[in-house]
């Protein structure tokens, strides 16, 4: 027969200060562990939702990002007329020829300049991204120096409220609207008319082109045709793949940093759990002797102490996870090393992260409690009963 759970739980309750301190230490480790996983999940979700499955991004071969790329007008027209490209209601191809550059704006939080993507889009550009919706103001008028800003830009950078002007490329640009892109990467961008932006930046070629495929399975054909066409030096990628490739370095960095930190911190927390459990065993020698005398087996005693350790860790784990869940209200913005532009994303708590985090905390308890539990289980009944 196993030792009842209530008995185990009461033992933790009796030594409240010790339990709180140990669980507090564990909670902090769990918090860091969960926060890193949430940050990575948020980054992935932001970049995956940036891409539409049937959209294809074309950039110059060898370029890694839209900013580095250049596609001249001829090439853009050739690709736009490819039979794989879907045709819109107005009979024109669903393709947006875009100009993507970076401008530096002052970040409100640090009062330092950071790079923001400014994207010139064709009239079809908005329709190609159904997740983008205007939430305030209006759309910019084609052929004017008007721009609309993403919600993260409006929140994070100064001078980007509706009615304000941004000065760059010898012009004043009026902010006329704010759009919400459903937490995708476009929230960190500013949009304007492609022809106006090209002219003011004195550019003669586009940066990239986004097309909608008529059918999902036409992607391979579209890509192959572009690869072999001698007039083109471009490369097509599915939009989702394109954006997730751009976050690889940042994602790897967050993961490595988080993994290293969690490992080091968990060692400290496990030592804390071990100290607590050793003391718990040492204080209860006579009790353990009594339990054994009553007929509980060594394995029962071992299990009881292991469960106590895991329960302790679980309390810490739940507390840590609770704090981490609050992080969902915070957003994180940093420069993506690959695109060199500011990207803002949220902490996202997924069910997988909850399971992983709780498993992590229980494992810490199990490892920390194993040696003390072994000591308890190995005690000789007679010696233990004789202890004071």
């Amino acid at each position: 027969m196993a030792i009842p759970l209530a008995y185990i739980a009461r033992n933790l309750w009796t030594r409240r200060l010790t339990t709180t301190l140990t669980a507090g230490g564990l909670a902090l480790v769990v918090f860091v562990f969960a926060a890193v996983l949430m940050l990575d999940a948020g980054l992935k979700k932001t970049l995956v939702s940036t891409g539409e499955h049937d959209n294809v991004v074309v950039i110059r071969k060898g370029a890694e990002t839209e900013v580095q790329s250049a596609i001249d007008r001829n090439q853009a027209s050739i690709m736009e007329m490819h039979p794989s490209v879907a045709i819109g209601a107005d009979g024109r191809p669903l393709a947006s020829k875009e100009e993507v550059v970076l401008i530096s704006l002052v970040k409100i939080s640090s009062n330092k300049p950071s790079n923001v993507v400014i994207r010139g889009i064709s009239p079809t550009g908005l329709g190609l991204r159904p997740q983008v919706k205007l939430v305030a103001g209006r759309m910019f008028k084609a052929g004017s120096s008007e721009i609309i800003v993403g919600s993260s830009v409006a929140k994070g950078f100064s001078g980007t409220q509706i009615g304000e002007h941004l000065r760059f490329a010898q012009r004043d640009w009026t902010v006329v609207g704010t759009f919400d892109a459903g937490g995708s990467g476009f929230d960190s961008e500013i949009w304007g008319d492609v022809d106006q932006l090209m002219q003011s930046f004195r550019r003669t070629s586009y940066s990239s082109m986004v097309v909608r495929l008529a059918q999902t399975n036409l992607f391979d054909r579209f890509k192959a045709d572009i690869d072999v066409d001698p007039r083109l030096a471009d490369e097509a990628k599915r939009e989702q793949a394109f954006y997730s490739d751009q976050s690889k370095a940042l994602s790897t960095f967050i993961n490595i940093l988080g993994f290293t930190l969690s490992t080091i911190f968990s060692i400290a927390a496990m030592i804390g759990a071990m100290i607590t459990m050793y003391a718990s065993v040492a204080n209860r020698v006579a009790e353990i002797g009594t339990l054994r005398a009553l007929g509980f087996k060594r394995i029962n005693v071992l299990a009881a102490f292991l469960v106590e350790a895991m329960l302790l860790a679980l309390v810490g784990g739940i507390a840590g996870l609770g704090c981490a869940a609050l992080m969902q209200f915070a957003s994180f913005s940093t420069t993506n090393f690959q695109t060199f532009a500011d990207l803002s994303f949220r902490f996202i708590l997924t069910p997988t992260i909850v399971v992983k985090t709780l498993a992590f905390s229980v494992t810490m308890g199990l490892i920390g409690g194993f040696l003390p539990a072994m000591r308890a289980a190995r005690m000789n009944i007679v010696d233990a009963l004789r202890a004071r």
């Binding site: 918090f31 110059r60 890694e64 330092k112 300049p113 950071s114 370095a249 100290i275 940093t334």
Partner: protein
């Protein structure tokens, strides 16, 4: 004297507990030191940058270049000594993960950087070879580049695969100099680009220039910018240090997170340590009552607890501090040159020591109060 003896005996009473606590402290102090060094490494580029060099770039952002014609106009500004061109090449050596900086620079660039040391023979070899390049010592060590090697680099901004011949290895003047870059001829870049993509020709990424008197840097940068006011490419001039700090500021939330986390580990170990001390104090209630009955005052008992806590912390903290430099050099090797400068600063060691002391003091507060407040009769009656 007997106080110290008592403290030492108390600390060693539960050997296992003390050893575990010391190990925990060592790890925490070590982790704190490494995290601090990571933050320092982030700033290494800015720390090594000079205040006597100014950088002029396009005011819109670094993506936009400046016309070649600006060079002579910058040279014309009072107080400017030497103007060099530098273009970020942004190429890939074999795989994107082998990231390192490549700059196309004008030939007078090296004169502006006395901290980059190059033998005279290698320098003239480099100047004579149009496709020649110079690599920094750290970079050469990482990839095994030797003089005479051909380095193929795939351009991302400038299309095509470019081949450079190593003509010299740049050494740093001291250990704070970053030598993890590749420099090649700006003229070679410009000539090639003019043939392939004329749009990108005669464009300079940034101008780096020296000033005769560093104290005038602010005034000179204002007068350079005023020359190009209301032109097609307005400029932004700042000291090299401010320029580098601008890059650091772009990832300031990551740095802030690392800083916060480095204190989290201190709080974790504080909880562990406080717990260990609280347990010791609880077990010794009877002893404290006995000592009081013998005539020792509350202050003595509190001192006993504080002494023990600080002694344990001092051992753990010292081990952690001693382990930091070797761990830092291991970390540097393991991360493969992501951090070209990764030195444990004196400030980090001081902070580690301060944290250790703080842990020792904070952990002892509650147990010391408990010991000082023990009532003799109740204490003697208590069961450990």
């Amino acid at each position: 004297m007997y106080l110290l003896k008592l403290i030492a005996r108390n600390a060693l009473r539960h050997k296992l507990r003390t050893i575990l606590t010391v190990v925990g402290l060592t790890i925490a102090v070590l982790a704190y030191g490494l995290l601090n060094t990571v933050v320092d490494a982030w700033y290494a580029g800015a720390a090594a940058a000079s205040n006597a060099r100014l950088v002029t770039r396009n005011a819109i952002s670094l993506v936009f270049a400046l016309p070649l014609s600006y060079e002579s106009r910058i040279r014309g500004v009072d107080g400017v000594t030497l103007v060099a061109r530098s273009n970020w090449f942004g190429g890939i050596y074999r795989e994107p993960k082998n990231f390192f900086a490549q700059f196309a620079v004008s030939d007078n660039y090296l004169d502006l950087y006395p901290e980059l040391v190059l033998p005279a023979q290698q320098r003239s070899d480099y100047l004579r070879d149009r496709k020649g390049c110079l690599v920094g010592r750290q970079l050469a060590n990482q990839f095994g580049f030797k003089v005479g090697d051909v380095i193929p680099i795939k351009g991302t901004i400038y299309p095509g695969t470019w081949e450079f011949v190593v003509r010299g290895i740049l050494d740093g003047r001291d250990e704070t100099t970053i030598t993890r870059q590749l420099l090649f001829h700006w003229e070679y870049l410009n000539e090639t680009v003019r043939k392939k993509t004329p749009r990108q020709a005669d464009q300079v990424g940034v101008y780096v220039f020296g000033v005769s008197n560093p104290d005038d840097a602010a005034a000179i940068s204002r007068s350079v910018d005023s020359v190009f006011k209301n032109s097609l490419a307005e400029t932004l001039t700042e000291t090299e240090q401010a320029f580098q700090l601008g890059f650091v500021a772009m990832s300031n939330q990551i740095i802030a997170a690392i800083r916060v986390v480095s204190y989290v580990v201190i709080v974790i170990i504080m909880a562990v340590m406080a717990n260990a001390m609280a347990m010791s104090a609880r077990e010794r209630t009877v002893e404290y009552a006995t000592l009081k009955a013998l005539g020792f005052g509350p202050a003595f008992l509190a001192l006993l607890v504080f002494g023990e806590s600080i002694a344990i912390c001092a051992i753990g903290g010292s081990l952690g501090i001693l382990a930091t430099p070797p761990a830092a050099s291991l970390f540097k090797q393991a991360t493969g040159g992501v951090f070209p400068i990764f030195n444990v600063s004196v400030e980090t060691i001081e902070l580690q020591a301060a944290c250790t002391l703080a842990i020792g003091l904070a952990a002892a507060i509650v147990p010391a109060l408990h010991a000082a407040r023990v009532r003799i009769v109740e204490g003697l009656r208590a069961i450990g």
